[in-house]
Every structure is written in structure tokens, then in C-alpha cells.
């Protein structure tokens, strides 16, 4: 059973590596293009070996080569069903947990911060986070009433505490 899971994970990793490697090659090529077309500041009469694009050009070439090598290596690993399993990873409960967490974080940081006071945004985020992960996405038995009490307590203590400690005691400005 373990061997089977390991082989499957390796197949997923190989295919995921291939995708990343291709992204890296594309990034490398983009960097090469941008460095090549970067102004060479001829008007300022700088030495041609000190142009701003020199090091980025080397890095772009390096990234393209290493990305290519990784792509070649991972494409040679045989992984029957690797692509299907890779797509399957996106539909797991783990992916859902990560996705929900990111969504909460983005709503807090991109929408709420700036719209309402920081301490209020912090309290809302902490409350929602704890409620979501202790009830809806809880793997074990859930106790909604207990979670609600805890979520409220930690949201008030955490959000308020951070505000007091940073803004009042350490005189650090908050968003």
C-alpha cells in the first residue's frame, strides 16, 4: 500500500516538476529578452561590460538551462496516470483547506484593510478563520458552540491585543 502511494506521489511530483520547469524556462527566456533589450546607457559612455542588463542576462540564461534540464529529467520519469493524479491533487481536501485559507487572507488584506479599522478587520479575520477550520473544515468531531465561544474570545483578545501592543506600547503604526 505504502509503495503504491509512494510511486503515485513520485509520478505526481514528476509531472508537477515538468510543469514548473516549463514555467521556469518561459521566465528565463523572458528575463533574457528583457535584459537584452535593457538600455545600454551608451549616452553616458559607460563601459559595455558594466551595462545594467549583464547579470540579469546571465541569470536568465542560467534559469533557462536549469529549467530545461529539470524538464528533460522529469519528462523521462515514467508516470502512468501522473497527469490525471496531478489534476486530482487540486480536488483533494488539502487543496480545499489551502484555498479557503488563501481566500480568507485575501479578503482580509485586499478588501477589509483600508475599508474598516485594522483592529476590526483583524477580529473579523480571526473569528472567520477559527469558525471555518473548527466546524466546516474540521476533520474530527466538531463542537460549534464551543468553537463559537473560543473564536469570539480569541478574535477580541488577538485583534485587540495586537492593536494595543503595537500601536500603543511599541508605537508601531498599523495599516
Amino acid at each position: 500500500m505504502d509503495d503504491h502511494t509512494d510511486a503515485r506521489e513520485e509520478g505526481v511530483r514528476a509531472r508537477a516538476d515538468l510543469v514548473t520547469a516549463l514555467v521556469l524556462v518561459a521566465l528565463g527566456l523572458a528575463v533574457i529578452y528583457l535584459s537584452w533589450t535593457m538600455p545600454r546607457l551608451e549616452a553616458r559612455r559607460i563601459h559595455p561590460s558594466t551595462i545594467p542588463g549583464l547579470v540579469p542576462l546571465f541569470l536568465g540564461v542560467g534559469l533557462t538551462l536549469l529549467g530545461g534540464l529539470l524538464a528533460w529529467r522529469s519528462s523521462r520519469i515514467e508516470a502512468p496516470g501522473g497527469w490525471r493524479d496531478l489534476v486530482g491533487v487540486l480536488r483533494t481536501r488539502e487543496a480545499l483547506r489551502v484555498g479557503v485559507l488563501l481566500a480568507l487572507a485575501l479578503v482580509h488584506t485586499l478588501v477589509l484593510v483600508g475599508l474598516i479599522p485594522f483592529w476590526a478587520a483583524a477580529m473579523l479575520f480571526i473569528f472567520a478563520f477559527i469558525m471555518v477550520f473548527e466546524t466546516w473544515l474540521n476533520e474530527g468531531p466538531a463542537d460549534p458552540v464551543k468553537s463559537l465561544v473560543w473564536a469570539l474570545a480569541i478574535a477580541v483578545a488577538g485583534g485587540g491585543g495586537i492593536y494595543l501592543v503595537f500601536e500603543r506600547i511599541f508605537l508601531v503604526r498599523l495599516p
Binding site: T50, L54, P56, L66, F170, L171
Partner: protein, 508 residues
Amino acid sequence: MEGLILLGQGIAHFLTPTSLFNVIWATLLGVTIGILPGLTATMGVALLVTLTYKMAPDQAILTLMCVYLGAIYGGSRTAILLNIPGTPANAAATLDGHPLARQGRAGLAMGLATTSSTLGTIVGIFFLAIIAPLLSEAALKFGSYEFFWLALFGVVISGQMTGSDTPLKGYIAGILGLLVAMIGMETLHAYQRFTFGIPALGGGIDLIPAMVGAFGLAEILSAMKRKAIAHVVPVNDRVVPRLKEIFQYWRTIIRSGVIGTFIGIIPGVGEDVGSWTSYAAAKRASKRPEEFGKGSQEGLIAAETGDNAVVSAAMIPTLTLAMPGSAAAAVLIAAMLIHGIRPGPMLMVENPAFLYQVVAMLLLATLANLVFGLSLTKLFIKVLAVPRERLMAVIYILCVVGSFAITQRMFDVYVMLVFGVVGFLLREMKYPMAPLVLGIVLGDLLDLNLRRGLALTNGDPSPFFTRPISAVICIIIVITILMSIPAVSKRVRSLFSRTRADGSPARG
């Protein structure tokens, strides 16, 4: 002699009520961060920079150092009682620490881990006090050529040694870090690279928000990916170890301390590598290697001495060359710069007392670990019971505050978000984070010194290869890269094992 006087002054400098108060709370916080799985030393230090930045410089660095050392030490508790490393540095400690705990000797295991952590730190401190002044003097003679190679060496060796899957991913992470450093105004001609017309990118990507993302948000995502179900082993025996229990392994302690020191000096190669390397060396040299992995006290001591020695030794390149010896040391460099302390070869000229103050900080921090570690067992076990769901929500808010507070721009918070998501994806794909961080820190040094060197010689690259120190570093880099190619390293290894088989027998 002068060094000893400065050291004495360094220690005396911190024997004030304020300093001792800072040592106490920062160590307790550090140990707590270490104990909580999913919170690492680097994350702790990165988040704490915000809190310390209105403090006096020496107190701020003292606080951060206590958090760093406390977290690396605290992680061993989790390794022993839960079989989960509290920080990546304590992974090797799970192998023997947890079996010991299951045999009903959890107290002994915690006692051994605590004392060997302290001894490891002290070995590292010893070498820090000796090597750093010498290296700093040597580094004064380094020119652009040497600094270019050193920066490249840092990224290459870190990529080679931390790439858990393959060195290839380590190198790629290093290049990505260097590319991040290319964003913004370059220092030679003041040209703005890769800013795409966004004014906020003109100043480049700041290290602190990037680190808070890559080590804060990314770790929250990793930790929350699945629910951790863990069982704490009860502690029923004595925690304070007998001297004999420790010192019968004095060889292991010294060996692991020296290995940890060596690993610490190598830029960007951190505590986890130090711990694994000294564990492997202890197993090879042990009279009872069969006990390793089944509750060997020697194995636990080796692992915990090794990682703590790295922390002290990581300060050697950090202070003398401004090249971070570990990921957390990179944050320390950023913190020092915020407080107007410039690490690098000139530190010993401009501010020689600071090096010895760092030695004193490490000494105080490790003593605090020892005292708290042996006395507050019950309290620390309670920390293990804090549910992640409740903790991580608050940590995320701290990530937002930590990335915002230094320059007070929402842009830095967005940087944190991007690095958090990309860092999480890279971690999931087994890319190491250390070379990435090192690339961000060393990118400017590498770029500036390469082009400045070329400008000095009117484009002639030969001094990069003909100056003696340059040539040596260059050869080391070439060998490192060649050794990471499987075919080459296999052939070289077989060459050595053949000579050993023909000639002297292997030790052991």
C-alpha cells in the same frame, strides 16, 4: 588579550535589568515558537523585527538573538514528545528523542537535549570569538573580485547542500532569489531594472516582507493543509540529567559542535543540515551504531549539539562578510541594517565591541535556555496543547503587521502575500528556501562587484581568475557544481572508496 577585555565588556554591557528582562521574555517567546510545530525560528525572528524596531540597537539584536536560539532549542521538545520536529532543525532529534520518550525516559531525553544544546552553542561561541576577528581582518583585503566569487559561492553551496530532492532545485531557487534582487534601482549606474513602471518597485523588494511571506504565510499554509493529530508522550522521570550522563559522550559533543560550526560558517546552510550531518557522523563513529534510531542518547546529543552550534557559527560570516550563515541570520542582517549596524569586514574596524556583544548575547540566551529548559517542563508541555486553528489566525495578522510596519507601505504587505503563495508552492515542490533567501540578500553584492571589477579593468575579466583568493574560490565553485552532477560525483566517490579499500581501513 584585547579580545578577552572586549568580551568581558560585552558581557558586562548586558548585565542590566532591562537587558535581563529582554533576555527572559524573548527566550520564553523563542522557546514557545520553537515548540509550536509550524512556527520556525526564521518566522519568529522575522515577525519580531517589527516589535523591536523602536528599541535601542543592542537591545533589539539581543531580543532577536534570544528568540532565534530559543526557537531552535525549543523545537527539540516537540521532537521528543510528539515525534514532530518543532522547527526543521530538530528533525534529526526525533529519530532518537521520541523512542527515548516512548521508553518512559522523556525527562532524560529533554534533559540531554537541553544540556547538549547549551554545550553546542558554547562550542560555536568559542569558534565565533576566535575565527570572526581573523576572518574579518582577512576580508579587509578582499576586493570586488573576491566578493563577487564569495557571493556566487554562497548561493551555489547553499543550493547544493539544501536541495533535498536534487541540487538542481537548490540552484534554481538560488537563481530565483538573485533575480528578485535584480528588481529595482541598481547601484552602479542608478538604472531601474524590471520595475515595469511601478514606482514602488523602484526601491527593490525588501527582505523583511519577503521573508515574512516565505517563512510566515507559506508556513501557515503548510501547517493548515491538514489537521495534525498528535499524541503527547507523558513525562514521568527526572529532567535534570546527571553530569556523567552527558559527559560520557564528550567526544560526540565536541565532534558535533565542530561539525555544526563548520556548517554554520558556510553561507545559507542552516541548522537542519548541521543537525543531520553531526547525527550521521556520530552514528559512523559510535561504538553502538545499532542503537541509533531506537533511542540512542548519543544520537540525540549529536543532533541537538549540531544544530545549536550552527546558530553561533552562522554569526561568523554574517558579521564579518555580511553573508548570512542561515536563513534566520539573513533576517538578523536586515534588522542590523535597520538599526544602523553595518555587518561586513568594516564592522571590526568601526564597531569592534559589537562582535563581542553578540558573543555575550548568545551566552546569555543559551544560559536562559538551560535554566528555563530544565525548570519549566510542565509549562512548555502545555504549549503543545494549543490548537493550530486558533493560533495560525493570529499569526497571519502578525504577518500583515510585520510586513507593513517597517516602511508603512501596503505594497510590502502585497509583497508578503506574493512571497507567501509562491513560497508555499515552491516548498510543496521540494524547492529549498535557504538559497532563495541567500540570493535575495547577495544579489546586489554579486551584481555590483562583478561590474565594478570589470569597470576597474576596462572589461578584462582576468583578475577574477588570477588573483589567488579569487582563483581558489572559483575552483571550489567549479568543484561544487561538478560534484552535484550525479555521474561525476559517483565516479569521484568510487575513486575514494577504492583507495580506502586498498589502503588504510575506514575508521569505525
